[in-house]
Amino acid sequence: MTTIDTSFDTRAARWAAEDVPSRPESYLQAARRRFGQNPVGLVSLGVLIALAASAVFAPVLTAYDPNFGEAADRLQPIGSAGHVLGTDEQGRDMVTRLLYGGRLSLIAGLTPVLFATLIGTTLGAIAGFAGGWLAALIMRTMDMFYAFPAVLLAIAVSASLGPGLVNVIISMSVIYIAPLARVAEAATRKVVVAEYIEAARLTGAGTPRILVTQVLANIFSPIFVYASGLVGLSIVIAASLSFLGLGVKPPAAEWGYMLNSLRGTIYVNPWVAALPGALIFVTSIAFNMFADSIRDALDVKE
């Protein structure tokens, strides 16, 4: 059998120096390059980084306490001395409230999507890979969640759990599991019929291994794109729950709750009252545009 190796080296010797294939850029390098060439993606990424940084460094950026105001300084307009964006109905500095509020809003936007992605992908991938009665059981259960409108379901779960950030995250994770499981299942079903899955089976690899090494990488990009699009919506729903009093407990700063508490001052100080809404809008748009750019960057031909 030793003859094999030497005889085939003649084949290798045929590669003249100039014909030796160069190493091409990897998938991630290519995706990074394409993302870097997309101005929309870069701008939205910049906005998101700025929002995240301002939330994290809020104590450094402002000297005021977000939860205590001067009664004398109530309802200052935008541009007043010492309060660049004015004050709210309790005399608290708006810049400070908005910066601190970003913390809770971003957490409420990201964590439910993260949890729902982990759970939904697992359920969807298993359903798509196994098929049969297991898929029917999982997916029909998911379908039951579709019977309720997302916001109503979130309100129902939040109302039964009581107000608070953790309960907001739980209720929103619950409503996102079903759509994510469906996206994961559809993507998995497309992948499992491919011949490379059969090739993996022939090696003797077990189902969990095939799911992780062969399936996951191929369903990642549709799931990632869908999930990142949900973050914007998630911020809006979290704000809605706070607006309804089911979210964070007062006086904690959160954009949705701020929108609610400033509602009464809309005829006195309309611009100040609109500020939390503007930030919700900007954050949500930035996440959606970022998701679109990522999708474009990941979209290699196969």
């Binding site: 094999i4 080296d9 290798a12 190493r23 091409p24 490379y196 059969e198 090739a199 090696t203 291994r209």
Partner: protein, 366 residues
Amino acid sequence: MPSTTTTPPARPTPRTPRSDGASPQTPLLEVRGVSKRFPVRLGLLEKGYVSAVDTLSFAVERGTTMGIVGESGCGKSTAARLILGLIAIDEGDVLFEGRNVVAARRMLQLRPDQKALRRNMQMVFQDPHSSLNPRASIGEIIAFPMKVHGFSKEQQRDRTDQLLRQVGLHPNHASYYPHQMSGGQRQRVNIARALALSPKLVVCDEAVSALDKSVQAQVLNLLKDLQEELDLTYIFISHDLNVVEYVSDDVCVMYLGQAVEICAADALYANPLHPYSQALLASIPRLLDDEPMREAQPLEGEVPSPLNPPSGCRFRTRCPFVMDVCAEERPSLSEPEPGHFVACHLYASPSGAPATMRPLMQPVGV
């Protein structure tokens, strides 16, 4: 010997010597009466069965190539997947080196010793696009079977380099992604992956059908070279009669899930016995005038539905020589010429006793 020789890594899985219990007479692979029916839903409650493969039997000798031909939908690919255990077998046995490798239960669960045997059977797939994981590099794709079997990182890398060279690629191709390669190159990767665990049997399912003619020739020659170098046994599935003639020692002609003729490739192309084989061969366009004229009636009609196959001989609805007995009785394989098996009432043995399927032992002209 070239000067560029680097010390080749030791073969990670040394081939077990032939004295591993199987006598030299045992064919490498024996397929015995393998059948598969797929359930299909016809209406709300009505269920039907598609008979994809029906009592298929043949044997493949070490180092030879068994070609399986037939038109689309005749069960060639299903047969391959049944043999390899990718689909559960309804009935019948698959013997590899004389040992049964059919999973005991329907969930494709194998005993450990069967698993060890299974790794000797690999497959080269049809579609160069869907057979390679688009998110994995060529190196990862080829190394995956070795990873599953617990080879060290270094062994994986060395063997990948060696395999890439063996299939006519460069070790640098390991960092390519499938979409960066041509169809022919992908098929070479496909072959390299199939060879990664040093299998004894490689099933090529329409392995060159998706390639254009010039690339087909390259890949076919590569397969032939590898067979010679590595003492491989092939099952070569194709609808292309010329390709099958080129690579095969023995040929099995399938029609609607059944083997209708099994014989040496030379014998089939010189003297096809079954009316279906005759019609198939007559359909090959002739290039040269001095080739013998093949005479056969052109086939009429469509292949009947496998959902409700004709009684008796499945070919009778299109056979120019159809007789009364064809509708009543399924023809069994008879052996009108030594080593030449055919399932047709025209050649029924006078004694009425069906010829049993034996390993095809006659000398083969390569």
